[in-house]
Amino acid sequence: MDIFLTSRIASDVLGGVTNGVIYGLVALSLVLVWRSTGILNFAQGAMPMMATYVGMIAFGHFFGYWICVVIAILVGFLIGAGTERVLVRPLYGKPEINPVVVMVGFLTVLEAVAAAIWSSTPRSLTTPFSPIDFHLGGKPFALSAFSLYQIVTAIVVMVAVAVLFRFTNLGLQLRASALAPEVSRLLGVRVNRMLTLGWTLSTGVGTITAILVSSNFFTGLTPQVMDGIFAFGFIAAAVGGLDSPVGSIVAGVVIGIILQFVGDYVNSNAIILVALFILIVSLMARPNGVFSVVKARRV
């Protein structure tokens, strides 16, 4: 058992899951916004990045890690809600490229503003968890206190979102507003509020993700920290199905594991190449997403 756990294969799987839950979380936040407002939010990485800077760096002078985490998430909620109200609301019903362009513009502004205020130098966040791998029988295996923290947090967030959507009245209204806005309004659901809430939640999930990513000792926090992660998250969401929260999370984890093997056995520059390849092949083979139940996505 020890020998297996410290083997190369097991460590790739563990490392893959650790990265994969991050891709899954980004994919989940994309799906939340896509399902509620039909917009692929290209600033889905940058908005949480901004919240993380505000919460973890600006308030980092005054408070400890956990208080900063809470502040960052609250700021994330605010950014999400404010963005939906101000930037996104005028875009409903506009041609498809309008929200794409506006959100790309927002992404650019956020990254530039963050760099203007905090510079592009990576900031390391002090985490309460060590990034050093656990040892088993004197050999390291690819799991650290930090990666456990990351995996557990991701699972908690995913379960919380699932419970909210499946089992609460709020979740029922969120889903109804996305599926049938007019009928929902006829039943007294405040649809506009639900759309704002969808963005709020999604940015909250994104902020938790961004904190995890930038708490990682090896990456740190930079204005561009989420660019690459966003690309992987989009790939996971598209492979799993933009309509399918479960599918996109599963796709995120599976892609995370595959890419860990690629990085280990081929080289790290091949990772994103393979990710693109997976995206191309899966869109060719299953345009609706590997796990999607919705059939209407093809032209």
């Binding site: 007019e182 309004r185 039943l187 007294g188 659901v189």
Partner: protein
């Protein structure tokens, strides 16, 4: 009671309703009849705030509705069963009903049970997705979803559309019962004039946006002209 006065509604330059006035009394069924494109759906959508009128007023027991948001109108107890029923196919029967009960702040469990008692067919299928229901079952579901919040006004847009005569008759009977027992104001939009007139107390006939008759249902039902020209009923 719903009172409509001088209502004019337009889609761009095209007027769908012109100076429409009538009253729908409490505990009575008011039928709104007319051919395709007469403006019946537009009337109901304006009452529930989905469409803003150009002129005129709509009041519900002294409350002016035209300036209100759809959500708030619904929360006042005005339930609208839209044309084509509007059940959410991706939801289960129970989820559809829960959605209807949300805003009423009632005991959800109890009101669900009440509806299952009233419409046993829904109880049997509560875990099924609504898009697996038959047309008649969907109609029942959307009625139940409207009724679960104990509305004071019920707006029904062609409940008989696409249903077999027997089911239509059942639905009409249900509407009649509800109206009698619950102090409900019902506005019933129908193409199927004969079955609507059978249960209605009052009838309004629309022709391309104008009111051409506004009278007791039996009078409208007997008027040879109306029957022939506007209601498509062969005597």
């Amino acid at each position: 009671m719903i009172r409509v006065q001088g209502l004019t509604v337009a889609y761009g330059a095209v007027k769908a309703l012109v100076d429409v006035s009538f009253e729908a009394r409490t505990s009575a069924i008011t039928a709104v009849l007319g051919a395709n494109g007469a403006g019946k759906t537009t009337l109901l959508r304006t009452i529930s705030g989905l469409k803003t009128p150009v002129a005129g007023s709509i009041t519900h027991d002294e409350t002016e509705l035209t300036a209100m948001k759809t959500e708030d109108i619904a929360r006042m107890g005005i339930a609208h069963v839209p044309e084509g029923r509007g059940v959410i196919g991706e939801f289960t029967v129970e989820e559809n009903l829960r959605l209807g009960a949300l805003t009423a702040k009632l005991n959800a469990k109890q009101s669900l049970e009440n509806q299952y008692e009233r419409f046993p067919i829904l109880g049997e299928r509560r875990r099924q997705h609504a898009d697996q229901l038959s047309g008649g079952e969907r109609q029942i579901l959307s009625m139940a979803r409207a009724l679960i919040a104990n509305p004071s006004v019920l707006l029904l847009d062609e409940p008989s559309l696409g249903l077999a005569p027997l089911i239509t008759a059942q639905i009409m009977a249900t509407i009649k019962d509800l109206c009698a027992s619950d102090d409900l104001t019902v506005i019933l939009v129908e193409q199927n004039a004969s079955s609507a007139l059978r249960i209605a107390d009052h009838a309004v006939v629309l022709n391309v946006g104008h009111v051409v008759a506004n009278d007791v249902a039996s009078v409208v039902a007997e008027d040879e002209n109306l029957r022939q020209y506007y209601l498509g009923m062969v005597s």
